[in-house]
Subunit: 241 residues, 4 copies
């Protein structure tokens, strides 16, 4: 699919309550990400936690080809009904790009089957995201690595299933590494988790980070093919006795 | 781990209510499987749905290195509390061998993150399980393929994540194929799904099928290594400013 | 890359010497495949074994984004120099789509590191290629399976490395299964092997088979990203004592 | 296989010509590794480049279940005949553990199908090998990570196929990461590459490194199962017209 319709979802709480976050993302993380995707010509809308149905109505999801997800302090406030709705849409083919602290979202945990837990530290680490899958479409336009002068550290173990493809591995000043760009298929849907993006830092203003998110969106776009058909099935070759 | 302690779990309902099943497994599917594993010298116990806590108390699970699971008609009667308990133990390292209709068990769905749905047919299909991972320890003692004169058909799509390792693919008379032996790691635990074993057929009396289950148990045995440590972590290399 | 330039390579011997092949592919297998790709709007050229440098000069390869490969009776006549040239281009990012008996080509063996051997039978088998990676871009426009009324059988074991992604598994009337659509990355290049295409059968005239080849070409198109840089590297973070 | 017979292969040139290496490994790297494996009760022999047939006669290989390989300055002196012999044995099921600069050995390149090139630096880096596959048998007895106070740096890109399993990722002081423990199956054989072991440093005297090598040997031990059978095959289900 060449031009997936994107919905950028954000918890949108830190930006209201923390001055340090508001200073970096005055319109919310979602609008910074949405603008970057929109600049590439894709059709983008946003949705946030405090909207009715978290902004993810049946209709919105039906018109969404790829959903991006940022959440942190209010994962438990996302209703199970909406999580199940998103889960079903992913299995039907909607792409999902999970960002940073979204690793602990209900939807990511549900899709992974593990805790998605990790180590973390908010100090003065630099991060360097090394490409370990050269040639993968998510690395389009990216150099050997992306350097972020300041980021929150996430460290292994990262309790996720073995990725279908490992695209980035991060180095941190403090001595840790992290599998920071990982791809999965679930049902007909594609899932990309991308690590950077602490709310007090200007990471989502970084053009290289924006490019990876855009690449992730394009990679995760749905494929137009047969739906998965389950259940009792007649023999195709006359197996009945 | 050389001698894992095994618990064989069975729903144990068909064998009580259906004469056709009782005729094949008079003591229940679990006792047939447990006997086969026990013959190899491993320590085995059984547990069933209608026991208190489904026979899976904290203590039983604490003393279980590998759990095997067969269920079919009563998946919904397995309590979420026990499912969560088993899930946690798998992430901590307990092996899990899921058999046949156990594909639809809550614990397998929770670990996979997908519906685990599939096609099926109860007719007169033969099944031939081809080894596609020669050299994998689960194929120890097995030939090029295992032939089962009569089995229920399971067909693709099988809604599971891409396996870490695909060990067997089945051919069915009626025209379908199925990924019938698949391996995953989840947390520190190993999960092996093995397809055959319809309740009205003598599949679990078949020595090759017994051998694969035993191989799966040995493969899924826990590794004695560091527990996964999560949370706030100090710098190892003096990253603080 | 949206519009990869394609070179369709064919051994082009059977079509000259065997009437039964000439009848099905009067202009050679390459021209049938090239026409199908060209119909989608991509720029296509062909190359064959008996041309100078097998038609794969430095310049041709420099202008090729994706190369498709069909060979059978004359694998050993492909010069090692050209094989090494193609190998280097794949590692630099050129896509490679290997078809049918191309499994035994020098270039596929060199990229896989294994014999790529298999079972085979030329009789009256039907083949049914089941999609096992729903949502993968190579399945775009394809149904649950592709049915070929008559094809040569290829059976497991197929001596290849575990695929990065398994897209299709074939069922054959005679009782075998085969991993018939498999994806790999090697260096910056992507490799797709696709099984069908016996020279005496009209398989490459089949629109679904043409669609899969086209999908494979698009999937294997190069990514524009940093070249791989090797060798002695200075410290990025002042590690020198 | 519980007690694989091991052959430890070493180029054994640095230890003769460089005082700095001789000081660390007076009897050669091979004897340090062999002693560590032997201490665990396994049967071990050694072989080196300058022996007839590099010490890898048909008989030696026939009696070897797992081969370990260290080489650096003389990769090109290993004869193609012996490389092919080892290659064939791996495909038949012999395990192979490739160490450090063995990444550039002919046998590893042949099995991988890529250049196996990488970045490197001999300075004052520390290395920290993080476990990213907790529960994998190669991590038996290992903590969250292994710390090496001084090691040669190897950095990405590491031109290898996507590993079947990624077990360790290394952090280096100078800013790089590296996939330092990777597993593959090739034919019936298992291949484990393990990064550490610069010849001037006492890495192979480190008990944790010795433990990983021993774990790798046990993991790579052959499976007793059917040989791979190729070629023309009769129908199993009466497909002939």
């Amino acid at each position: 699919m060449d031009n997936p319709r994107v919905t950028v979802w954000n918890e949108f709480r830190h930006e209201k309550s923390h001055e340090s976050v508001k200073a970096v993302y005055p319109d919310g993380i979602h609008n910074t990400i949405a603008q970057a995707i929109s600049n590439s010509g894709l059709e983008v809308r946003t949705a946030t936690l405090d909207e009715p149905e978290h902004g993810l109505t049946e209709q919105v999801l039906a018109e969404t080809d790829v959903l991006t997800w940022w959440g942190h302090m209010a994962h438990q406030e996302v209703s199970d009904e909406i999580v199940n709705r998103v889960h079903q849409r992913v299995l039907e083919g909607m792409g999902l790009v999970v960002l940073h602290s979204g690793h602990f979202s209900k939807i990511f945990q549900k899709l992974m089957g593990t805790t998605c837990n990790l180590k973390w530290r908010e100090e003065n680490d630099s991060e360097r995201l090394w490409v370990v899958a050269p040639g993968h479409p998510i690395t389009e336009g990216i150099g050997e690595y992306i350097h972020l002068e300041r980021e929150e550290m996430y460290g292994e173990p990262f309790d996720i299933p073995e990725p279908d493809t490992l695209v980035f591995v991060s180095w941190f000043t403090g001595g840790e590494i992290f599998r920071s760009g990982v791809c999965y298929r679930r049902g007909k849907g594609k899932v990309f988790y991308f690590r950077p993006g602490h709310e007090t830092l200007p990471t989502y203003h970084n053009p290289e980070i924006q490019r990876v998110i855009l690449n992730g969106v394009r990679w995760a776009a749905p494929t137009q093919s047969a739906p998965m058909v389950f259940g009792n099935a007649p023999s195709l070759e006359g197996a009945t006795a």
